[in-house]
């Protein structure tokens, strides 16, 4: 793999070195210099005149790819990209992958290093996705309507913070969070009630399982009719969507404790509530958090989709559908970016809390 990537980057560098000529107008010299460096580096990996140990080669790959990215991005304004430019792009990208490959192979016993690597690698991947996106959209002159560049989206986000915040408040803080809390809470409580009746368990569980697989978003128009255009109807959709996953998971979790554990509580002559709080609820926590995680994405989907069926003139779903109509695609992407960040943070927080409470579970211990 290393050699393939080195060969790709070498070829790209060669193109940059030889072809970064007149068409690239102002910046050919820098691109050529970069191409030369890449070719030299690629030789190191391919021909191996000197044996590079792990660390220097990792640093070379990382450093060169970063230099390349910065150089190419800075050239975007002043040149019309041609062969040399794209050669350098390919070279920088291949080096970045090589860098990631190297980083991924590092096994460190020190927790801090292991942790930062676990963050750094996907982060690098994300940054490079953005770099390629920027280079391609602007370098190839992709029309804004099709796909705006990340920088344009960023500029749009900065210039319309007020609108974005209003939409965020309407959709996320009201509809999603309130609906999520109510849906998960009621699902949990009903599960506790059902748990006391084996009859209800046998009757409701198959139905709950079935309903979990149904396209519940479909209730959105009904909820909008019942609860009006404002966030209450969206929260109601979120409640219905999050209720069943929580119900099913909690019931399964409460049944998860082993026979021996329950015998143990019986030898202590422990009552129902003692067994529930000391044994069965802790044992159910991984299941409950599973539902909380599933629901965190379901809630956002439910709230936004419900806005397609009528809303006051604020909200993320509303904004997206109207701005698409006006071909303001950069605003749409700004909303998407916000939704993505909000969704990821929401999911991330739930995961963190999960780690705090279920640190003992085998899936988290390792």
């Amino acid at each position: 793999m290393t050699r393939v990537l080195a060969a790709i980057s070498g070829a790209g560098g060669l193109i940059a070195l030889l072809l970064a000529a007149a068409q690239d107008s102002t910046g050919p010299l820098a691109v050529r210099a970069f191409g030369l460096l890449v070719v030299l580096a690629a030789m190191l990996w391919l021909v191996r005149p000197v044996e590079l140990s792990k660390w220097p080669s990792t640093v070379v790959a990382g450093g060169l790819s970063t230099v390349g990215a910065v150089l190419l991005l800075s050239q975007l304004d002043s040149i019309t990209p041609a062969a040399g430019f794209w050669g350098a792009t390919v070279a920088a990208w291949a080096l970045a992958w090589l860098f990631v490959e190297r980083l991924a192979s590092i096994e460190s016993r020190r927790q801090l290093i292991a942790w930062s690597l676990r963050l750094l690698i996907p982060l690098l991947f994300g940054v490079w996705l953005l770099v390629i996106w920027e280079l391609c959209t602007r370098g190839l002159g992709v029309p804004q309507v099709l796909l705006p560049s990340p920088s344009a989206i960023g500029a749009r986000m900065v210039s319309s913070t007020a609108t974005l915040w209003a939409d965020f408040k309407q959709t996320f803080l009201h509809a999603v969070l309130i609906g999520y809390a109510l849906g998960c809470g009621s699902g949990f409580l009903i599960a506790l009630l059902i748990d006391r009746s084996p009859f209800l368990q046998r009757g409701l569980l198959p139905i709950g399982n079935l309903v979990s697989a149904l396209p519940i978003v479909g209730v959105a128009p009904i909820m909008v009719m019942w609860f009006g255009f404002d966030w209450q109807s969206k929260a109601a959709v979120v409640v219905v969507m999050t209720f069943f996953p929580m119900l099913v998971n909690t019931v399964a979790g409460l049944a998860a404790s082993g026979a021996m554990q329950r015998d143990l509580m019986q030898t202590y002559a422990a009552g129902y509530w003692q067994t529930l709080f000391k044994l069965r609820l802790p044992e159910a926590l991984p299941f409950i958090f599973n539902a909380l995680k599933i629901n965190s994405t379901l809630a956002l989907i439910g709230a936004i989709v419900a806005e397609f069926f009528g809303t006051p003139i604020v909200g993320m779903g509303f904004r997206i559908s109207t701005e698409v109509g006006r071909m303001n695609v950069d605003m749409v992407w700004a909303e998407i970016a916000m939704a993505a960040v909000a969704g990821s943070l929401f999911y991330g927080i739930v995961t963190l809390v999960e780690r705090m409470f279920t640190f003992w579970h085998p899936s988290i211990r390792n």
Binding site: M1, V100, E101, L103, A104, S105, L117, R118, I121, P122, L124, F125, G126, V145, L146, L147, F199, L200, Q201, R202, G203, L204, I207, L210, A213, L214, P215, V217, G218, V219, A220, P221, I222, V224, M225, W226, S296, T297, L300, I301, I304, V305, F308, F309, G310, M316, G317, I320, S321, V324, V329, V332, E335, I336, A339, A340, G343, S344, F346, Y347
Partner: protein, 285 residues
């Protein structure tokens, strides 16, 4: 079986009760406007359960609508629910197939390449925190702009939703063989390819089917939502939207019931496939 029947009966009873409760105020308004007084309870009951645009349609109204739009209409008619169901179903299925293939492909890449595992896996998870359904209108409009129309844009949404459970489940499944089994393959000096076909893939099948059940259900959701922004032309999602424009509650509910039946059937089909494959593999199930 009995508990399920009892619970379903309970739900139907509660449904009828709620229908009467929710539709009563409007019925009283009607009586007042028509200057009808001293209405008997049985008449009130009958009227509330047979309104044209009830707040909550009674089960029999939904059933009648379903019967009318499936059995009594020609399949080619735009008013036939079967026609609309077919549109949604074909979208969901093509999205599901593409999503499953994509998911398997990603999983194979991830378990065979460390860099992919470390860099891609977090983004696969993050990808699902982006509410793709929110982007649905844009995807459809943008793809329309570059000339891709019809089924495919909607199917892409289903694909995006359904690839995730498959990818995650398959990564887990392909990694599920025990160390001793993997060591055994190493004693045979088996290639990565042979290990994949003879050990990893068979071991992952139960995981694949479990995630395919989730994937097919969510592909259905994607197909329905994908139909919303196209302006309510065809499909179950379009029926939902049109129903909500014109206040046709019975139409909304029948589309919803139809979508649920379809989703349940799809999940059931995957389960059947699961049993068939596992039985062929000789697993006792």
């Amino acid at each position: 079986m009995w508990p399920v029947i009892v619970v379903i009966t309970g739900i139907v009873v509660i449904w009828y009760g709620s229908a009467v409760m929710l539709n009563k105020p409007f019925q009283h308004d009607m009586y007042k406007r028509a200057n009808v007084e001293n209405v008997s309870f049985s008449q009130l009951l009958g009227d509330t359960l047979n309104q044209e645009r009830p707040v909550l349609p009674a089960p029999h109204q939904v059933y009648q609508e379903l019967y009318k739009t499936t059995v009594e209409k020609k399949i080619t008619s735009k008013r036939s629910l079967i026609y609309h169901s077919w549109i949604t179903l074909s979208t969901a299925l093509s999205g599901f197939v593409m999503g499953t293939l994509l998911g398997i492909l990603l999983a194979v890449g991830i378990i065979h390449n460390r860099a992919l595992d470390k860099s891609l896996m977090p983004w696969i998870i993050a990808s699902q925190t982006i509410p793709i359904l929110a982007i649905a209108p844009m995807i459809i409009v943008v793809l329309n702009a570059i000339g891709i129309q019809g089924l495919l844009p909607k199917a892409f949404i289903s694909t995006y939703l359904s690839f995730f459970p498959v990818a995650v489940g398959m990564v887990k499944g392909l990694r599920s063989p025990e160390t001793s089994h993997l060591d055994l393959m190493r004693t045979y000096n088996a290639s990565a390819w042979q290990t994949f076909w003879k050990l990893r893939l068979p071991a992952s099948l139960p995981f694949l089917f479990t995630s395919m059940k989730v994937a097919v259900a969510i592909a259905m959701v994607g197909a329905i939502v994908g139909e919303l922004p196209t302006g309510a032309v065809a499909g179950l999602g379009a029926r939902l939207l049109a129903g909500s424009y014109y206040g046709q509650t019975i139409q909304i509910w029948s589309a919803l019931v139809m979508a649920s039946v379809l989703a349940a059937c799809l999940v059931g089909l995957v389960s059947l496939g699961n049993r068939w494959v596992l039985a062929r593999m000789g697993a006792s199930a």
